[in-house]
Assembly symmetry: C2
Homo-oligomer: 431 residues x 2
């Protein structure tokens, strides 16, 4: 059997400890499938003595993470520290510049610095892999980069954040409101103490930017993602959607539009019951890639957790052990295109709009007039009979197919109206 692939582990949090367990537990199987053993040689983390439930005494220790890259007994640095910059980025740069392959689960770092790191990897002739950065244990980057490699990807979309999906599907099943379910999710460990990155859509946007770069051969452009979160979705919205035959999911979606511009958006959407994403409950992730020959491909599984994430990291290690070290973003970094961000106004579709209005005469007429003046045609309108607390009433509507620009124009007409108790909630219907 060939010489072992020797890895250094930067970061020993839950995923790092999971990877140690995985390699201990499945090492023989991995060696057989990879054609050579995958061995941990050295580790680094903030605190050497912390109890992680795994024995690290057999591995060399480095206080300074970047020193891992300098070790002559290391082939691959595995970065599991997290954070877009700081020690993670320093470790990544050192590794690639030092001629080591880099495997990372760090979505924020790849979303912000993926192009630079890919260029570094290619310049130094080493692999850069980040399967675990998107959708946990699901091999969706492999599916796009290799499984669908012969297809022009027409659209990619999916449920990319397990926390949001847990919250939305639990709200749906229990009829409870966002705040209450978020609190429970935090107690159960499905949401962080500070859930901002998850519930505001930033985490999903990191993953979407990575998928879009791969799918469309684009220079990664996280800043251009139109990001929305789920914090304003109410139990009443979920009930309205259900009555219309839809479920609400936080959807990341990207395509190249008619003008050749790159559209990237994360937003709660109404997903029809017959779409497989509607059936995705709990902290699960699912990604759909539509190829011009493959048709619709769906990849689904656990979006987070130490086991699934470690599984994805180890899949990258097996690929590297087997000698599969193609371009990080499928095509060479120099061939990645700099797309202009799409103007969503050109897009057509159906939109769900929900207003919280004062319970008094004339409000509905005001909204209807704004829709008319914006050129928005209303397909169905539901005014909730019973006022909410504080005498507010919810008015929800679904538009006919039409340009998003018209919806924006109608909403601009309503801006500042004394009839609206809060800004309207706008969600698209997944077509």
């Amino acid at each position: 059997m060939a010489a072992p692939l020797r890895i250094a582990l930067a970061g020993l949090g839950t995923v790092g400890a999971g990877l140690v367990r995985l390699i201990e537990s499945n090492g023989a199987l991995i060696a057989s499938r990879a054609g050579r053993p995958v061995e941990i040689v050295a580790v680094s983390a903030r605190d050497r003595s912390k109890n992680r439930g795994v024995d690290i005494s057999g591995y060399a220790w480095e206080d300074d993470m970047t020193a891992l890259a300098a070790r002559s007994d290391v082939d691959v640095v595995v970065e599991l520290v997290g954070g877009s910059d700081g020690p993670a980025l320093a470790t990544a740069r050192h590794a690639l510049k030092g001629g080591k392959a880099l495997v990372t689960a760090n979505k924020a770092m790849i979303a912000h610095h993926g192009l630079e790191l890919a260029e570094l990897a290619e310049a130094n002739g080493v692999a850069l892999r980040f399967e675990a950065a998107v959708a946990g244990g699901i091999p969706v980057i492999k599916g796009l980069r290799e499984g669908a490699a012969a297809n022009r990807i027409e659209r990619i979309y999916g449920i990319l954040n397990g926390t949001c999906n847990y919250i939305l599907s639990t709200m749906e099943q229990t009829g409870r409101d966002f705040g209450e379910v978020l609190k429970e999710a935090q107690e159960l460990g499905y949401a962080e103490a500070d859930p901002t990155f998850d519930v505001e859509g930033v985490d999903a946007a990191h993953k979407l930017a990575i998928l879009a770069a791969l799918a469309f051969g684009a220079k990664i452009d996280f800043a251009a993602v139109d990001v929305g979160g789920i914090g304003r979705v109410r139990a009443a919205d979920i009930a309205q959607a259900e009555a219309l035959g839809y479920r609400i999911r936080l959807i990341g979606m990207a395509d190249v539009d008619d003008q050749g511009n790159l559209f990237q958006r994360v937003q709660p959407c109404l997903v029809p019951h017959n779409n497989p994403l509607a059936a995705v409950d709990g902290p699960t992730n699912a990604v759909v890639a539509e190829g011009n020959f493959s048709g619709r491909l769906l990849f689904q599984g656990a979006g987070a957790g130490d086991g699934p994430t470690a599984s994805a990291v180890a899949a990258d290690l097996v690929d590297i052990a087997r000698g599969d070290t193609g371009a990080p973003f499928s095509v060479p970094a120099a061939e990645l295109a700099a797309f202009a961000p799409a103007d969503a106004g050109h897009r057509t579709g159906r939109t769900y709009l929900r207003f919280v209005v004062a319970d008094r005469p004339g409000v509905l007429a005001e909204i209807a007039a704004a829709m008319r003046d914006g050129g928005v045609s209303i397909e169905s309108l539901i005014q909730q009979g019973r006022p909410e607390e504080g005498g507010e009433v919810l008015v929800a509507m679904v538009t006919h197919e039409g340009p998003e620009a018209n919806v924006a124009k109608a909403l601009a007409l309503l801006e500042g109206s004394a009839s609206l108790a809060e800004a309207p909630l706008v969600m698209r219907l997944l077509g």
Copy 2:
């Protein structure tokens, strides 16, 4: 850019013509992603002059398929002829012995001769790839072989035949019976004129045997698959299942049991509504792999058709162009284990049993006594009030969790009973 990967195409049916179209349409994209162009150099089929909707005049022609393997201007032979033996197998053997890589969509050939062909490929240092042989355009072989490579696979199961899934889901949606829906499926092109291989489960069994070999590192053993079809499922069974919270799907399933033996079965099963396979409608395929770290991974998409199948063939070609040529069954052929076939009697689970009985007193008592004497505990029993044509009555029951051997014993006690108008229909509940 590196030299082109030159391919020879054996077989120009719908998939072959689809591959020609794909390479014409997406050639530049493929070259960019693969790092080199993929070019068709030579073709062979039964009839040179047949109109296939694609122009093959630019390719060299061989009357004898096996001659493709002898051409010095060819790197890869793509076998799209079909059939487990005959010209397909001859072409495959010639190609590998001649030092050409082989890509095939031929599930029957791999199910019957996969081990021999893998040994040939390894002995000659060339690639053998067969992504298109399982689940059409879905990269499930890649998902298992690479994406889940670091996992011990605990169970693999899925919907592996689009024809059967179309028929069962249409029966479910329309309440019509098998024969009528099969006829319609044939008219719509979802079923062959001779549907035997599909509806009797043989096609799904070919795919299951391939998946099991990959998942468990097993010497492929098609003969050991316990194969059942959907021809005896009635609309009434689907209605009963629905009432119990289940949908009927033809499921291929494999695992290594407690005794270390390989269990492989294709059988219509009752799938609970909360399992993602229950939502899979129409001619779609879906495969679930349960890894010991990844958890449950689901791969879903079009299970057949020229576009999806060509997409999978081309994905294999891109891998070969990139230089990824590991062992065909993930581990080297010499390391594949010869598992003994499992004795299903040891397995425990819940079973759906449906009897067609004469409408007269004492029949139910006879069945109940046989269940008691077999040691089968009945969870629910439904006797349909209104007799079917011919005075027959359907009796359906679901057992409590228990050994399959007990169900077999109970049914053996009823064998030859004058009360039964036909053999009982036995379906397992997917746990």
